[in-house]
């Protein structure tokens, strides 16, 4: 792999050159067709697996075309596997035959586990140019075990509060700029008969996400995360307990029967104006667009109180990556394709089709909502702690967080007890030393 050229002036040519150089690096291909980059015979088909229908639609809507035009010998076929069973199918797919050449894999714990299985090939050296990716983005696709990169980051997610502009305008409310204002705004919305806040309270992971939007800054933002990963503080720390208390503080403003609200219901409740605010991820921009609802909305970060240890933050996390199967029969073509997936050309096409935040720089976002989130993310990012660090063993920290907050809402638990339970749960497997490399 040391034959990779250093300079790549034109992006499209770069991908071809990357593939060419890899092909040249391979003795088998060298002996087969020395001078030409095009392997003889039929085009090679690369199979890509993803859990996301939207991703497949975006890829097939003019994105892959660009790649296939530049690389006529490579066909890319995208297969969507059911989201609920994706990890199960991928575990067996990557371990045996009939699996993908390239697979979308979720970030952090999931990719680390797949990397450890030996069924993925590290791509540190396969991708010729990582310069466009931020450390936050690469952290999501780096395996905890060996510190190597196992996927091209697909994109970033930020989490923030969505608010219904029509409801805010009708009540003459402004976007709150302090935590107290946030509560006052909620009070006024409640008085008008609309539910101020909806959270998918039946789904543990979604409660954890909402809790992170509300509580990340209260806990101390990136500094807390750093200290936590270093082992200097744990989740029973006062600031961490106080961040869980916020979930109790907003309880009067939550939609009725919050612990029965599923994810689909939460989206519907917000999109139909039955609730005024919804803390959630970037992906809701697509959900709201797909619903076709006549919804005028905006987003804001949860405002902080001056007594909190951190300024306002934008909660962010790596949103999966494209990984290379160790069992692919076409490693050279897969490398060409992966290099293209890592290019600004792809990021520009894909991020705008998907309305997601790109993992790399050099991209202009067309969607106003996403562009706004991207700017905020660049200004003050703070990693979603639960997703990035508390999903490397059972039980997931985010699962217990969700369960404990449900108990708080049901009147069976308090914030300190919840923090204790979460810490006890992750103590079963969490060791800061694992993140030391």
């Amino acid at each position: 792999m040391n034959s990779i050229p250093q300079r790549r002036p034109v992006l499209r040519r770069r991908a071809v050159l990357g593939g060419l150089s890899l092909a040249l690096g391979s003795a088998v291909i060298l002996s087969g067709c020395q001078a030409t980059p095009e392997p003889a015979g039929d085009p090679v088909t690369l199979t890509v697996w993803t859990w996301s229908n939207e991703a497949r639609e975006a890829l097939e809507d003019g994105v892959l075309e660009v790649f296939e035009e530049a690389n006529p010998t490579i066909d890319v076929e995208v297969l969507v596997q059911p989201d609920k069973d994706y990890q199960t199918l991928l575990t067996t797919g990557l371990a045996g035959s009939g699996g993908p050449d390239i697979a979308a894999i979720r970030s952090y714990g999931v990719i680390s586990s797949f990397a450890e299985s030996g069924n993925l090939t590290p791509i540190d050296d396969i991708i010729t140019d990582w310069a466009g990716f931020s450390d936050t983005a690469l952290a999501g696709v780096t395996a905890r075990g060996d510190g190597q990169i196992y996927a091209v980051p697909q994109g970033m997610q930020t989490a923030q509060v969505y608010y219904n502009k029509t409801i805010f305008d009708d009540l003459g409310l402004d976007v709150p700029t302090t935590w107290d204002e946030f509560l006052e705004v909620s009070e006024e919305i409640k008085a008008s008969g609309v539910a101020p806040i909806v959270i998918p309270g039946a789904v543990a992971g979604q409660i954890a996400l909402a809790g992170e939007v509300l509580g990340n800054a209260r806990r101390g933002g990136p500094e807390f995360t750093q200290e936590f990963v270093a082992g200097d503080v744990d989740l029973t720390d006062d600031a961490s307990v106080a961040s869980i208390e916020l979930m109790q503080e907003i309880q009067p403003y939550l939609v009725d029967n919050v612990t029965s609200v599923t994810l689909d219901e939460a989206v519907t409740i917000f999109a139909t104006g039955m609730a005024a605010m919804y803390p959630s991820g970037t992906w809701q921009v697509s959900s709201f667009a797909n619903l076709g609802a006549d919804l005028d909305y905006g987003t804001f970060n949860v405002p902080v109180d001056s007594s909190w240890p951190s300024d306002e933050v934008t909660v962010a996390y790596g949103d999966g990556g494209w990984a290379l199967s160790a069992r692919t029969e076409h490693p050279d073509e897969a490398a060409v394709f992966l290099n293209w997936l890592a290019s600004a050309e792809f990021a520009q096409l894909y991020a705008n089709k998907m309305s997601t935040i790109p993992a790399r720089d050099g991209v202009t976002i067309e969607n106003e909502y996403v562009a706004e989130m991207y700017d905020r993310f660049l200004a003050n990012p703070s990693t979603y702690l639960g997703l990035a660090y508390l999903r490397y063993g059972t039980p997931w920290g985010t699962d217990i967080y969700g369960e404990q907050v449900q108990k708080i809402w049901l009147g069976e638990q308090d914030a300190a007890g919840a923090a204790d339970a979460i810490q006890t749960g992750i103590d079963a497997w969490f060791d800061p030393a694992d993140f030391a490399n």
């Binding site: 797949f114 299985s117 309270g201 219901e265 519907t268 059972t394 039980p395 404990q404 449900q406």
Partner: protein, 310 residues
């Protein structure tokens, strides 16, 4: 039992016997025995990501399962929920199923129609049934609570699946609703097989309808009740799809619908833990041994009871 000797005399050539048995045995071995043996074997190893074996570690996975968090909390909780599902479905399926089957007996030509109707939910995937009922029972959008409110029963319009107090009972009821067709069919067939002469004889002797049911119908149904009970036991202990559709992998709300199979699922496919395969195999082995033991004991007890009847 006494027919054994006559059967021996007509026993076909061993090759013929083998030709009949081997295909089924191979299928059984590949589809059932191998995965079971593999899970049993996996539970004795420590893994490092997927299928990479670190080493044989005897019963360490089981020791962890019975002594360490989160298992010491979650395993008994899940087990208790499985038992609740078992008790609930056992009582309801047997009683309602038997009641319906007895009533259908008198329906004559319409019997078939109702049998088909009762069996319909049984033909639908439990996952579909689960999502369907989630929608029906939604406090915000569901027709069940809307109907309750419409007739003035606002107090009964509860967050069915959002409250730990109601979530498990609702799960049991929906499970019974889905599987009720099965006992109805089995009891129906058994009732149809009962000789009318016995009932007539009892009537002539002056036995009332209820007495005939208690002293004739019910004892003759014992083998079928046993079969339904054992199958219910296995179904309740392996319960996964419906709890998953209702409460996701974590048994929402607040773990109120967590069951052993969900614990297994979280451990194996939802954990990111390095030794996921070893630990999840240990959970599966414990579950398997419990079901096997329970089924064998139940079968023995029933066998003894049936012998006493004759």
């Amino acid at each position: 039992m006494t027919a054994k000797s006559t059967f021996d005399a007509k026993r076909p050539h061993p090759v013929v016997i083998a030709a009949f048995i081997i295909p089924a045995f191979v299928l059984f071995a590949v589809i059932l025995l191998y995965p079971m043996a593999a899970a049993l074997g996996f539970s004795l190893f420590e893994f490092k990501g997927g299928l990479n074996i670190v080493g044989f570690n005897w019963f360490q996975n089981f020791v962890v399962l019975f002594t360490q968090e989160p298992y010491v909390t979650q395993l008994p909780r899940a087990f208790a929920h499985n038992l609740a599902i078992l008790v609930g479905t056992l009582i309801l399926q047997n009683s309602i199923g038997l009641f319906l089957a007895v009533q259908l007996q008198r329906f004559g030509p319409l019997r078939r129609v109702f049998q088909v109707l009762y069996t319909t939910p049984y033909l639908v995937s439990p996952l579909v049934v689960g999502y369907l009922w989630t929608l029906l029972l939604s406090p915000t959008f569901g027709p069940v609570n809307a109907a309750l409110r419409a007739v003035g029963l606002d107090a009964l319009a509860l967050p069915w699946l959002g409250d730990p107090k109601t979530a498990l009972p609702v799960l049991i009821l929906v499970s019974v609703w889905q599987w009720i067709g099965f006992p109805v069919l089995l009891y129906g067939a058994a009732l149809a097989g009962q000789s009318p002469e016995i009932h007539e004889a009892a009537s002539i002797d002056g036995a009332s309808g209820w007495k005939r049911f208690v002293h004739i119908t019910l004892p003759l149904l014992t083998p079928v009740i046993g079969t339904v009970s054992i199958l219910t036991f296995i179904g309740a202990m392996e319960s996964f799809t419906l709890p998953y559709a209702f409460g996701g992998a974590t048994g929402s709300p607040a773990g109120a619908t967590d069951v052993l199979s969900l614990l297994f699922f979280r451990e194996s496919f939802h954990s990111g833990a390095s030794n996921a395969l070893g630990m999840s195999s240990a959970v599966a082995t414990v579950l398997f041994l419990f079901i096997l033991g329970g089924a064998v004991i139940a079968r023995r007890l029933l066998g003894r009871y049936e012998e006493n009847l004759t």
